[in-house]
Symmetry: C2
């Protein structure tokens, strides 16, 4: 029996993630495997640590959890709280609800703090809950909720949590290297990211950052974290002291190194700026088409734009036309937003004017075919004007 070498289609991935990976990152994945206790691999970990610290803006400890972003999520609850501990979970989207499910399964005493989807949360409601519950061990949140396209005020939430002596953790899967993030200055205790979004590497590992305060707690717990695989103290011991733990995903770590090199070369602040500017072009074009962008300008994410689908259009038809005729993947609505919105990711490698033009062009063609008249056929011009205004090279 003979199998042809695998082929995969080249998509324009403009969904909520994974995002396209940079070719240099993909090439690094093909380097030869070395042992996870090989000195050459230890050198690589030592090279990655300061780069990871830079993207988290921290002087504290960084590492990776060997799994998806959801693995980084679970590691947070496993390590920073234990059975019966009170945990407040701020919930304003689909992935916050996942946090609640996880924490409940672990036997934590979850206080869900639900606020309106699509809006930035009012930090005062956290203050009020913590005033009523003085013994909360951990407050959890999501920085950039990909289901709603909203950036949340995690700096303020962290401050309030600390005032009441609770640990503060946040999900930065979608924000890491795409939105401003200051782990130390904001006083975050634990943040977990994903390799596959603004970092522009394939999915499979979750870069994490942990405060000394939180690590100290984990190291001194009387009851060990219920998961050996996710025990952050053991993972940190591997990264910093080269103590064996599980076999590291060697080639994914190669990809991470290459992805981080690209962030360093571009400059982290420039990369944040690129996400801001390119998405401004997208929004200008979408508005010119007459589409409704329901998230308030004050709250919205740059790397993920939510479009309300015109009532007459079926979201599945729209997404199918995009993927089948233009090989463009966009995201569907989740939870409360199901069937009502599509979500456009412009993350990392995917975040460039050419993808914006591709998408606008496709929408200009598809929407009338689905029976919805676009306001004007000048969306590409509008995007281009916005790029010029922001001195973004449209050929980027």
């Amino acid at each position: 029996m003979k199998y042809n070498p695998l082929k995969m289609p080249k998509r324009t991935i403009l969904g909520p993630g994974p995002s396209s990976a940079n070719q240099r990152v993909l090439n690094a994945m093909s380097l030869p495997v070395v042992g996870y206790l090989d000195s050459a691999f230890f050198d690589l970990l030592d090279e990655i640590i300061p780069m990871l610290r830079h993207v988290f803006k921290t002087k504290q400890k960084v590492a990776i959890v060997s799994g998806a972003g959801s693995a980084g999520m679970e590691a947070g609850f496993v390590n920073l709280a234990q059975k019966g501990d009170k945990v407040v979970i701020c919930s304003y989207g689909h992935f916050c609800e996942r946090q609640i499910m996880m924490a409940e399964r672990l036997g934590l005493d979850v206080i869900p703090l639900r606020s309106e989807w699509g809006k930035s949360m009012d930090p005062n409601i956290l203050q009020a809950v913590l005033e009523k519950n003085k013994d909360v061990k951990l407050v959890s949140s999501i920085h950039a909720e990909t289901s709603t396209g909203v950036l949340q005020p995690v700096d303020e939430l962290a401050k309030i949590s600390h005032k009441f002596g609770a640990f503060f953790m946040t999900d930065v899967v979608t924000s890491l290297s795409g939105s401003e993030l200051y782990f130390d200055d904001w006083g975050i205790d634990y943040a977990y990211g994903g390799s596959q979004k603004c970092l522009a590497a394939p999915p499979g590992i979750s870069p994490v950052c942990i405060s000394d305060h939180a690590l100290n707690y984990i190291r001194n717990r009387k009851i060990l974290p219920s998961s050996w695989y996710f025990d952050l103290s053991l993972i940190i011991d591997y990264w910093y002291d080269k103590q064996p733990h599980h076999t590291a995903p060697v080639n994914m770590v190669y990809a991470l190194r290459e992805a981080l090199s690209l962030v360093m070369e571009e400059g982290l602040e420039n990369r944040w700026e690129r996400h801001k500017n390119v998405s401004a072009g997208l929004r200008a074009g979408l508005l010119e088409l007459g589409l409704d962008l329901p998230i308030s300008p004050d709250d919205r994410l740059d790397q993920l734009t939510v479009i309300k689908i015109p009532d007459s259009i079926d979201d599945v038809d729209l997404r199918n036309q995009l993927i089948e005729n233009y090989s463009i993947e966009v995201g569907r609505g989740l939870g409360e937003f199901q069937g009502k919105v599509i979500r456009i990711g412009l993350m990392g490698e995917s975040c460039n004017p050419s993808n914006v033009f591709q998408l606008l062009n496709a929408l200009e063609k598809i929407l009338p075919r689905l029976g919805w008249e676009v306001s004007s056929g000048n969306s590409l011009n509008e995007a281009s004007r916005e790029f010029n205004k922001r001195s973004i090279n449209s050929n980027l």
Copy 2:
């Protein structure tokens, strides 16, 4: 700032794993990322399922756990038992002790069943324990213990477990596609493997197989598994019904497909045979050098050979010489075997006569330098004679 593209040394990896990956597998890692809900990716999962079934020799369900082999290990305990359940863990090596640690952290009522390291376990002692403890929910074991180089009689252990109504799980990280394994015929309920050993892909994912009986139990548990990330019913729902769960490690799945294609092309039974024949050549050469192979011929693994280090030699010196002068990685002794043995892996891509010759040649040079006289300088000839006897092409 400019970073040079990552370079990694090309090692001859003859340790306990990870093992070298085939170049076609590595190349597949560089294919473009697609979404984990993309129809092209679903097609890929559907292509992989029958291949994975073939290597497990099963008609039941297969999938991957998105993490190291230890993640597959933890998934077993999380799903097949719950807090307070009695679990018997057969322990005859380092990784069995890891199972015990994991299960204890999860709050399971662990009955460790320890037997001598380096020996195959007597199934009668399991029978005796189960006679005394009628309410055991799960029996766990390791098929090929990489710390001791011993193959264990999991077929018999499974049979006894079922007689007493317990689930039976086993670790096939090192055995999968390197040793005979019949998931269905042996009556295993859950087995987890690793991508990075005899399958010859990079580390990072754990192929798993689960019986309908066990899956049925998981689906009907009143208390959900404490880990959302490792919930095997949700993972199976993703693989078979394409229900979203966590973001799959897309490019690692590409690697798995390519690695499985190579197994299918070689033929699973031929691959088992190759591991047997190549390691026979290694053993012939090692014995010719006068080295002691402490594991009994009846019990020993083919893909991992344990060598007793001569008393006068320091194991660190020996391993350093191998890696520094010959770029050959071998494994150190673990636990009770620390400092006393080295472990030679011949797995998947690494399992070929040329690696055997490289290693024997290096040992012929290094051992006298460390003050130990080898019996003869004909170890390569002996290996070669063994390969000829077994009709193995030495240029493989």
